[in-house]
């Protein structure tokens, strides 16, 4: 567990590293989800295409939204965008920078899903098997049109009784898979070339503005965090004073009502009484009832004046 803690600390040290870490985790989760998912093509003429495209495009949308939700910076950016101007000018370049970095990170998991889907091939085979040209494949050339549609739709189901040993089924399957894999690799190639060009060419345009936008977006994030910490700290002190005041007023009330011998020697002024003068069952019950029925007001200005 020690090295987990170290890795965790490394990622926590920098908020960008945290976001990169979340992005990587989502990508791995996306691959794992795909391998665990039990793909089952319906093997019926129109349902195939709906199912195939659904599996290829709906989970990426969900993953994209997850990527936006899990990223703390998206809330910070929204707040910066919608706040009234007040005393501090708004810099659109900073907001644009934050938006683009959030969207880039959120796009990684959906893209990974789509590419893994294409490289695996099952989705495309399911979606397009019924749209194949039967003349290209020997086993399907002689059947009537309606029959051929039904047969082709059954191609993704290996265990169907009609399809079990059909060599043309394997030919169709292989053909579609080849196209699916080619499409997957091409998309990956295009994306990597785009990422490479973006990284290489970015310093050529407006590097100074970029540095400024990066710095101020970082600043806004830090400021929000420190504000939250200060508020927490403040509310802790506030609560402490409020409760001390409450116990003190309880103690004074008990002193007023109690008939016990006044114990001068106790040094009530000098020594701090940890029990606040509440020393028996009834007094504690009274205190608890008072805490529930009559909570003290949120105002410690008198306490701090002492």
């Amino acid at each position: 567990t020690d090295h987990f803690r170290m890795i965790f600390q490394y990622f926590q040290s920098n908020s960008e590293s945290v976001m990169n870490g979340i992005c990587g985790l989502l990508a791995l989760a996306s691959i794992k989800t795909y391998t665990c998912f039990d793909f089952s093509c319906p093997c019926l003429p129109w349902y195939n295409m709906a199912y195939g495209f659904g599996i290829m495009f709906v989970p990426p949308v969900a993953l994209f939204l997850c990527g936006l939700i899990l990223n703390r910076q998206s809330l910070v950016m929204l707040e910066e965008w919608r706040r009234p101007q007040g005393h501090r000018k708004k810099d659109l370049a900073v907001i644009r920078y934050m938006c683009s970095s959030i969207v880039q990170r959120a796009m990684v998991a959906p893209v990974v899903w789509i590419i893994v889907t294409l490289l695996d091939g099952k989705c495309l085979i399911c979606a397009f098997s019924a749209s194949m040209d039967p003349k290209k494949f020997v086993g399907f050339a002689n059947a009537s049109l309606v029959q051929v549609q039904q047969l082709l739709a059954k191609v993704p189901c290996k265990d169907d009784e009609l399809m079990r040993n059909n060599t043309s089924r394997k030919a169709v399957s292989r053909y579609l898979r080849c196209w699916s894999q080619a499409l997957g690799w091409s998309i990956l190639l295009i994306l990597i070339v785009a990422a490479f060009l973006a990284r290489w060419l970015r310093p050529c345009f407006n590097q100074a503005t970029l540095l400024q936008a990066h710095h101020w977006s970082n600043y806004i994030d830090i400021e929000q965090r420190i504000f939250e910490e200060t508020c927490c700290e403040h509310s802790r002190l506030f609560a402490h004073k409020c409760i001390l005041h409450f116990f003190e007023s309880m103690r004074q009330e008990i002193k007023l009502h109690s008939f016990s011998l006044p114990r001068e020697g106790e040094g009530a002024e000098g020594k701090e009484d940890l029990l606040w003068g509440i020393t028996d069952h009834d007094q504690v019950n009274k205190l608890l009832k008072m805490w529930y029925y009559e909570k003290p007001p949120l105002d410690v200005s008198q306490v701090t004046q002492r």
Binding site: Y10, W185, F227, T304
Partner: protein
């Protein structure tokens, strides 16, 4: 755990060691992706060559570019290349060194992929099965087929289940032949790569060692300088934010608008440690006002020098002391964004 921490720190300390780590991970990932990838030869005459060569060459190119993309030094290199000269001269040798070291590291994962592919043999079998020499390996007494039909039959060699040319040429014979060639190519490639790497490493000290040491030093320096600059900026932003927020809270408690609802019950100069830590906000109304104001009206990015800790480089930096605190808030917007 101590050893692990030391290794981790060692890898982190130097950008080059970190990049070596990433390079190793990518090489392993490349081998893993190849074994996870489901190779699926189309077994059709022209598709075979396209598919086989595609799988042999496209992923290495992708891995090569990914090696550049994942390397943080690339933006450093581009920045160093494009920056205006200013007061610091530019040294071409340093840029060349950085580029060469990045390119060398990025070449490892593609080389691993190509070697693994060739040694495994499926790609070459798929791509070149239609070029198998039937005259020498096959059954010459078989009635001859037309060129197109022969190609169709040969194209099915990688797909054993649908192969129908057993009389023409035995499947195992063709596959064994192609595999043998593929593995020979694979080992030659591995030998070539290792020889090149060996030559590059061992010949370099014979030429230009002094220049090399200089380039390496200055490229490390640029990297460390950039990292330190980023850390200093972050540190500065943190201190700036702390002081800004403290001043905001203080401003809240003495603000006349807040005082209208809750007249201040204490003089500003008074009080004990408790009020100090509470930043002057002691009741619900003032706190609500502070929170509302934080959203509606964020404070300007302009710290009052009187409140700054001594020794801070900000103190006394160009803020004319004659401006009274209240009007400064309105003009501060001009100074806000650096």
């Amino acid at each position: 755990m101590d050893k692990f921490r030391m290794i981790f720190q060692f890898l982190q300390s130097n950008q080059e060691s970190f990049m070596n780590g990433i390079c190793g991970i990518m090489a392993l990932a490349s081998a893993q992706i190849y074994s996870a990838f489901d190779f699926n030869c189309p077994c059709l005459p022209h598709y075979n060559l396209a598919y086989g060569l595609g799988i042999l060459l496209v992923p290495p190119f992708i891995l090569f570019l990914m090696g550049f993309v994942l390397n943080n030094n690339i933006s450093m290199l581009a920045e160093e290349w494009r920056r205006p000269q200013g007061q610091r001269g530019k040294d071409r040798a340093v840029l060349r060194y950085m580029f060469c070291s990045m390119a060398q590291r990025a070449m490892i994962a593609p080389a691993v992929w190509v070697s693994v592919t060739l040694l495994d043999g499926k790609c070459i079998t798929c791509a070149f099965c239609t070029s198998v020499p039937v005259e020498t390996l096959g059954n010459t007494s078989h009635p001859s087929l037309s060129q197109g039909e022969m190609k169709q039959v040969l194209a099915r060699i990688p797909c054993k289940e649908i192969y129908n040319g057993q009389e023409l040429i035995a499947n195992e014979v063709a596959v064994r032949y192609l595999r043998c060639i593929s593995q020979a190519l694979g080992w030659c490639f591995v030998l070539l790569m290792t020889t090149l790497a060996f030559l590059v490493r061992s010949l370099r000290p014979c030429f230009t060692q002094a220049a090399f040491l200089k380039s390496r030093y200055w490229s490390h320096y640029i990297d460390i300088e950039r990292k330190l600059f980023d850390e200093t900026c972050a540190e500065h932003a943190r201190s700036f934010a702390k002081v800004c927020i403290q001043q905001f809270f203080k401003g809240m408690s003495t603000d006349p608008a807040a005082a209208r609802c809750h007249p201040p019950r204490k003089a500003p100069g008074d009080t004990g440690e408790g009020a100090e830590k509470l930043l002057g906000i002691t009741d619900q109304g003032t706190m609500n006002m502070a929170l509302k104001s934080w959203h509606r009206c964020k404070p300007p990015l302009h710290l009052h020098p009187a409140a700054l800790p001594s020794g801070n480089s900000w103190a006394g930096e160009g803020q004319p002391p004659t401006h009274p605190p209240v009007p400064r808030r309105e003009t501060a917007a001009y100074y806000s964004w650096v």
